[in-house]
Symmetry: C2
Subunit: 317 residues, 2 copies
């Protein structure tokens, strides 16, 4: 009998549900909207429906599923399988997702872990982290998140809320972050920050291709990268800034975690080649030599690491 694993990558906008092998191959997957505002019950019901849909499509039975793994925004109580609450899942509170799923999927082990940790596991087992022992994954998109593998094991922390890297302070007199604190890495180096800086500069009257590329005055990091491709001065300046702040954040992580490999994913990693040089220059100029000598920094290999990592939770250790 074919053994498969079910992967659920739960996000504030959409949910990605897949059937995968232990080798990290996604056999099939379906993306559906989360409809956060409609509550958690409906979302979990549609997750179940989607799993059944996938099984039917692949001509598989419930019995083929050897485990289910869920990556979710936190904070969570992963031991008890509960999503405590999340700014990305507004209105959801103490959602017993594991208990609810196990009504349908009895006797199948179900694991819940925060999405940053899940994606880290995916990239560690099947992406850039393969073969390393101390690995860090950073995702840069709306926010900045990630996870760490230490001596071959996923760092979960006391209650699965470790590696909140986006909310580490790099400048305590810096701008206010969404979390309420000041000078978080996320307030400087996220895709959101790139868009904000671009809008600020444009409204100051800077000439730039960005204003032509961006739609309806909403500037996204993609727009900045596209303008950079054409050699746009402002775009290159903003990307240089991104490399600098990301470099500061990674310097701190290298000082603490001393990893052999770091990979960067998320939407902003599409501009990896643009910000790489400045990022590395910042890191190299600040880091202890032995720490930087062993550390390689790459663009993430697996765009679907959030999904495969969620599934991998079901069989990892």
């Amino acid at each position: 009998m074919m053994k498969v694993y079910c992967a659920i990558d739960l996000g504030g906008t959409k949910m990605n549900i897949g059937i995968m092998t232990r080798e990290g191959e996604v056999i099939d997957h379906i993306k559906i909207p989360t409809f956060v505002e409609k509550g958690s019950e409906q979302a979990i019901k549609r997750i179940k429906d989607t799993i059944y849909e996938l099984l039917e499509k692949l001509n598989l039975k419930k019995e083929n599923i050897k485990g289910i793994g869920i990556g979710s925004p936190g904070p969570l109580d992963s031991e008890k399988g509960i999503i405590i609450k999340s700014s990305n899942l507004k209105g959801w509170k103490n959602v017993e997702i594991v208990k609810n799923l196990s009504v349908d999927f009895k006797d199948i082990p179900i694991k819940l872990e925060n999405d940053g940790n899940a994606a880290t596991l995916g990239e560690f087992l099947f992406g850039a982290g393969k073969g390393s022992k101390n690995f860090v994954y950073i995702t840069v998109s709306t926010g900045v998140g990630g996870g760490a593998v230490i001596d071959g094991k996923l760092q979960k922390g006391g209650n699965s809320n470790a590696f909140e890297v986006g909310h580490t302070i790099i400048d305590l007199n810096g701008p206010k972050c969404n979390c309420g604190n000041y000078g978080c890495l996320e307030a400087y180096a996220s895709g959101t920050a790139i868009g904000r800086i671009a809008r600020e500069k444009l409204s100051e009257g800077r000439e730039s291709l960005i204003s032509k590329i961006a739609r309806e005055n909403i500037v996204k990091s993609e727009d900045v990268f596209e303008a950079a491709k054409e050699g746009d001065a402002l775009a290159l300046e903003i990307i240089e800034r991104e490399g600098y702040y990301l470099g500061i954040g990674l310097y701190n992580i290298i000082a603490l975690y001393n990893p052999e490999k770091i990979s960067i994913g998320g939407g902003v990693s599409n501009g990896f080649d643009y910000f790489y040089e400045k990022m590395m220059k910042t890191i190299n100029s600040m880091s202890l030599k032995p720490n930087i000598e062993i550390c390689k920094i790459e663009k993430a290999h697996r765009e679907d690491c959030g999904l495969i990592g969620a599934g991998a939770l079901a069989f990892y250790e």
Copy 2:
């Protein structure tokens, strides 16, 4: 036959050499000066002499020693047993301390680890960290250092240079640190920083008991704590500041490591009761609730954790 372990806590000023049990009891120990400027050869020779002296005193033989552990300032190559160099051991370069000791102590396992990690292990196994699974030890004295235990295992990093917490950036526009970077935690929250701020304020003409307590214009953190005991306004202000910055540093650590226990050692921890309130207020106001709910912060239990941790390297894992 009695089984003992030999512990070597190597510092820039002095070396502490002890004979201990597996249960963390130091049977006897001797402190000798390092005489860094005389080179590493003489220091290692005197370490050997001191071990022999202890053995004789305790009526023990070489054969009683089941392992030797060394905690040393880094960076190190702990796999190869080499002290690469250190700002605290000026002039020492690629010191093969393990190889050199094993000439005398053949067939005895000898481990080398950085001093912050060694002290963390000591406090984890025999101090405040006992019973926890995710533990952080911070030492605040001349500098700020420490180590982390993750899921019951000491975090070493790719080449034993993990947890350089003193040199994480908390304010990238901050004052210059000894390491050359700007705004390191150490530049704000170390004993050295306390002394510097006190001197600055006194030279600005602030009235304070500190100037009466301090000898020869060298202000130490102890002087500030002594003045605080008498209710001195400047001293209390400086300690409040210490609590704030230490709180910022610990907030970052809690966000990344999500530990159940943190203990604070080093000379500045003598003022723990003075800065505790402000430190906790800072941490509590900034941290994610689930992270702070499980995290207890205490003064270190074992002042000798650097020594017992070094010895414990010999039998840990």
